[in-house]
Symmetry: C2
Subunit: 290 residues, 2 copies
């Protein structure tokens, strides 16, 4: 049967489950063993955190999650590279690109202050806000995901927001554009014209719109710097493409779909602005094994 995305009827955020059989029967997490449910074609509808991967980090509202494959079942250590072919990894990437909500379940074996003492707990819906490749603690390539909890749903703890917007209760956020004083300066230098295609998106009364794109991503875990030489002025279309792995910046500042494919364009620069090559190189590495 096709994957169901979202919280199943009758299941509550915070609900406890005795075992994986019960998770399966109530359609919270259906695979009997795998940590990730889903495929590249359909997307991934749920993950179950159960302590299998040394690189996982659980921050409660967001999780840095390791993809599947290449680890030793007994020790949890990586013994070979991970890749995109694993259906779970491909599924989570599709969920990220398509904005599909992912059910997250924590098991007692998952090392985190948010884990239940026994059995499993349904933590609610998360979105895959980014994904990339890195060297794991054990020296092999791992596919990594950042999942952020969808804010507008029943809280596990009391919420500071007294008045959530009801229309958003079943909606996920698929993009958050972060804007800083420096990204505003870059946008002003280019007068909102995209450095890839020259497009300027127009708004009311002749106003123009563009986005400041951090090439080495801001925020955990990358913690790219908020500096002029890490920011490009892009139209929303090329900003999305940069963020979801559909565009990399080559050494000569041409742009291409991947590091090994032919350039489809070239970044335009004004003399007050440049991009530091190390940030373009960091960004290329994020997509290398994908």
């Amino acid at each position: 049967m096709p994957k169901f995305f979202g919280t199943p009827d009758g299941v509550k955020v915070g609900q406890f489950f005795v075992d994986r059989r019960e998770l399966h029967e109530l359609s919270v997490h259906r695979p009997p063993q795998s940590g990730i449910s889903g495929t590249g074609r359909e997307g991934s509808d749920s993950i179950c955190l159960s302590g299998g991967y040394v690189d996982d980090e659980d921050h409660g509202d967001y999780i840095l999650y390791t993809g599947q494959g290449g680890n030793d079942r007994n020790s949890g250590k990586q013994i070979s590279d991970q890749n995109l072919q694993s259906p779970g990894n491909a599924g989570l990437i599709t969920s990220g690109v398509k904005g599909l909500p992912v059910r997250v379940v924590r098991g007692a074996n998952h090392k985190s202050p948010y884990s239940p003492p026994v059995g499993y707990q349904y933590a609610g819906l998360f979105t895959v806000t980014s994904y990339w490749v890195e060297k794991g603690m054990d020296g092999f390539d791992v596919v990594r995901f950042r999942l952020d909890r969808i804010a507008e749903q029943a809280a596990l703890v009391a919420s500071a927001n007294p008045d959530p917007d009801p229309a958003f209760a079943t909606a996920t956020v698929i993009r958050r554009i972060r804007d800083t004083a420096l990204s505003r300066r870059v946008k002003a230098i280019y007068e909102d014209a995209c450095q890839v295609c020259g497009t300027t998106v127009s708004g009311i009364g002749g106003r123009t719109y563009s986005e400041g794109a951090h090439v080495m991503p801001l925020g955990r875990p990358h913690l790219g710097p908020d500096t002029l030489d890490n920011i490009l002025c892009l139209c929303p279309n090329h900003h999305v493409q940069l963020d979801i792995g559909g565009m990399v910046i080559l050494e000569n500042f041409d742009v291409a779909v991947s590091a090994t494919s032919q350039a489809f364009g070239s970044l335009t620069f004004k003399k007050q602005h440049t991009l530091a090559p190390e940030f373009a190189s960091f960004h290329r590495a994020l997509w290398l094994a994908l």
Copy 2:
């Protein structure tokens, strides 16, 4: 001197002020009388809520704010239409398009549970997440703004988030793309090709990306329905343009920069999908007097 955007050094979120003179001297809200500081060219850097407008609604984390002009200073009632020419209105729209943070100050005369008992209180930075025209309670056109509090700053009340991301502490969110099960269905019908320009944004491994755009906006105050006939499949560029008032949908489903300008394109439809004309008409009315 040019406008300063952000919280001035030495000023704290939640800080109290005796009077407007003190707000002026500490650069929290500089105009001696006006509720909005700023101009269309520079953007608006601060607003002061002080009970002047009957249509204001304060929900704490977000505020539905009435633009300036057309009201009787004594009664607070509207006595004529508002328009874009007022520098404050033009300034807040520019802040919305450019993602500029706006300081919000509440005065004791502002009718809201969040107002201070006497004097003024600095409520922190907000972003202008939307703006439009509507008939106010007194029957005249008013320019309205929705301002949302920027989440990643010192909280007025204790926060449920134990671990905010430090890189976002000085960043504002300028776009949040909401995704629902129905917007995913519309995107699937069009296979991620924009109904305006046919563009498909590409991601990693041949994946494609598009956005479901609610024509009558979701969420407060419009509360547009989450139904197939209120959603278009658009590329990010045309979605932004629809949201910031740079594109309206005419009666014949052509698209144009404004209701009175010449069409620059036409919506493409597949037979499983249509747009209800009343939502296109509601959306046109949002921008009519701007």
